[in-house]
Symmetry: C2
Subunit: 363 residues, 2 copies
Amino acid sequence: MYRVIVANKAVLTPWEVSGKIDYDNLVEKFGTKPLNHGDLDRMRDHSGRFHFMLRRGVFYSHRDLDKILDHHDRGGKFSLYTGRGPSGPVHLGHLIPWIFTKHLQDTYGSKLLFQFTDDEKMLLKEDLDETITSHWVHENALDLMALGFDPDNTEFIVNMRHASKLFPIALKVAKKITGSTMRAVFGFNDQSNLGMMFFPSMQAAPCFLESERAGEPVPCLIPAGIDQDPYWRLTRDIARKLGYPKPAQIHGRMLPGLTGTAKMSSSQPETAIYMTDVPELVEKKIEYANVPEDRANCPLFQFHYFLLTESDEEVEWIRDACTSNRRSCLECKIELAEDVNRFLKAHRRRKKLIGKSVETMLE
Amino acid sequence: MYRVIVANKAVLTPWEVSGKIDYDNLVEKFGTKPLNHGDLDRMRDHSGRFHFMLRRGVFYSHRDLDKILDHHDRGGKFSLYTGRGPSGPVHLGHLIPWIFTKHLQDTYGSKLLFQFTDDEKMLLKEDLDETITSHWVHENALDLMALGFDPDNTEFIVNMRHASKLFPIALKVAKKITGSTMRAVFGFNDQSNLGMMFFPSMQAAPCFLESERAGEPVPCLIPAGIDQDPYWRLTRDIARKLGYPKPAQIHGRMLPGLTGTAKMSSSQPETAIYMTDVPELVEKKIEYANVPEDRANCPLFQFHYFLLTESDEEVEWIRDACTSNRRSCLECKIELAEDVNRFLKAHRRRKKLIGKSVETMLE
C-alpha cells in the first residue's frame, strides 16, 4: 500500500512497490544511514520548503549529510557532484536525482560539478567515438540546464576534453589504489584493460576538485542512486588517505521501468521514456506498459509519485482511484501519457530557450 | 682500443670501453637492427653532412628507421618524440639524444614533441609536488631550447597541465593493455598502484598525437637510449592494434658516468656533471673522477667522443696522447674541465638569451 504524507514531518516508505529492490536492506547492507527527522527538519528549514522527494522518501539515506549541513550552518560552502555517461538520450529516470540536485543548488548556493564520462563510454563500447559522445554531451547538457540550474554556478567536466582539470587529482587517487583493490571492489581481473581500471580515479577526482582549487577543504555532496554507494565508499577511503574531506552522499531510489523492472534503464530501452520521445510514442509506450495484477506494484503510479505530481493530495487521489477501482487502467494510462507529454513539452521548450548558451559552458 | 673514423663511411664500434653494457648484445637481445651503411648514407645525403654521432656510432641501432626515411623520400612528414622526467637539473648525458634530435629536426623539418613526465615523477616520489616539478619543467625546457630547436616546430607536453592533449589517446592505448601485460612487460604486481600502471599509456600517446591531429598516418621517430627499447616494443604492438603507424626508434648509447659507471645518471649524482654546475665544481668533479688502470676504459675520453669534440682528428689526438703516455691524466683532466666549462658557459649564455620566451611554449 502507498502511504502518502500530507503532514510535514512524516516520512513514508512505500518502497515495497518496486518489488525487486529492498531499499531498507540496502541501507543495512551498505552501512549507510537512513535520513532521520532531524536531517529532514534541517533541510526543510534551510530551503523553506519540504521538497516532495524528501517528503516521500525518494531520497532516503545518506553518508555524512549531517556533516555537510553542519558545515553549511557554520557558513561553509560545499560542492555538489553528479554526472552521466553521454551515450544516448536522457530518460525520465535520470531526472530524479537531477531535479533533487537542482533543489540542493537553489537551497545551498552550491556549485554543481557535472561530469560527462565520455571516456568510460569509449572504453565500454567499440562503436562509440568522440563525434557520437560529443553529440550526446551537448544534448544531455541541455536536458540538465533545462531543469533550471544556475549557469554561473554549474561546471561541466567532459572527461576527454577537460582531462587536464582532473588528471592531476586522478593520478593522486590512482596512486592510492592497487590492482588487488580494483579486483575486490569492481571485480576486475587480469584480462581487464587498464583504461577501465583507471577510470574510477577520473570519476573520483571531481570530489576533490574544489578543495584543490580553493587550497582548503571544500566538502562535496553527491546526490545519487543508492546502487552507486559501493563505488563512493572507495573514494571516501582514498579521501582520508589524501587528506581531502570524504565525499558525502544522499541516496535516492530508482524510478521503476515501464515493464515493471526495478529501474528505468537505457540498457533496456523498452523500460524507458526518453526526453526525445514524440507524443505518439509516449502514448504507445504507456499503453503497452506492464500493469501488474497486484496494483500495489504498478510502475505507472511511481511516475506520478517520483516525478510528475508534486501535490500529495493529487497523488493520493490517483492511488485511491486505482485501488478502489474508480478508474480503469486505460483511463489511468491515458491521463499519465498526457501528464508525461505535458512534462516533456515544457522541458523541450526550456531546452530551446537555452539553445546555444550551453555551448560556451561545454568549451 | 678506440677506433676513430676519418673516412666517411666506416662506422666504428669502440663500445667495449663502457665496460658494463654490451651494446652489440643488446641489438641481438632486443631484436633491433644495427644502422647499416645504406641507412647512414641516406641520412648523410638528407642532411648534407655526416653527423659525428652517426659517424662514431653513438647512435647505432634502430627499428623501422628505413620506413621513416622512405616516407621522407616520398615527401611525407614525420614527428620526433622524446622527453624527460622533470625532477632535477639536466646533466651532460641527457644532452646526447637531444643534440642528435636537434640534428634530425634540422634535417627533416620534423615537429618535435617533447614530453615532461611530471606525472610519473609525482607517482614515484612522495616529496615531489607540482611546484617543484614546474620549476624543473621550466629549467629543463630552457636547456632543451638552448640547443637550438625551432620554437615554431617544437611542442612541449607537460603531462599534468596538458593532460587533455594526451588523455583521449592514452585511454585508447590503455584499452588495449591488460593487467597481465603490465605485469609481464614492466614487472608490476598486485600491489602496484594504478597510477604507475596507467602511466605507460600517457607515455605512448604522443607517438600517435600527430596522426590524430592530421586525421592521417603521421609516422613518429623516437631517438632514445637503447635501454628504453622494451618499452617501445609494447607501444609498437598497440599501434598495430589501433591502426596507427608503429613508432620508429633510433637507438643511442649512453654517456658513461664520471665514476666509470655505464651511464651518467641523476640517481647517482656522483656520476654526473649538471648544466648548473659552477666551474669550480666541474673542475673538482673531473679532478676526482675515476680513471681506470686500463686506459682504454677511461670515461673521460668518452666525454670528448660523445659530446665535446666534433673533430675526429682532435679526438684521435686526445686518445693518442693518452695511450702513448704523451700526456698525464692530470693534464688531460685539466683540459677536459676547461672544455666542459666552455661548453657549459656557452649553453648558459644561450639559455639566458631564450629567457622568458620559453614560458609561452609551456602554457
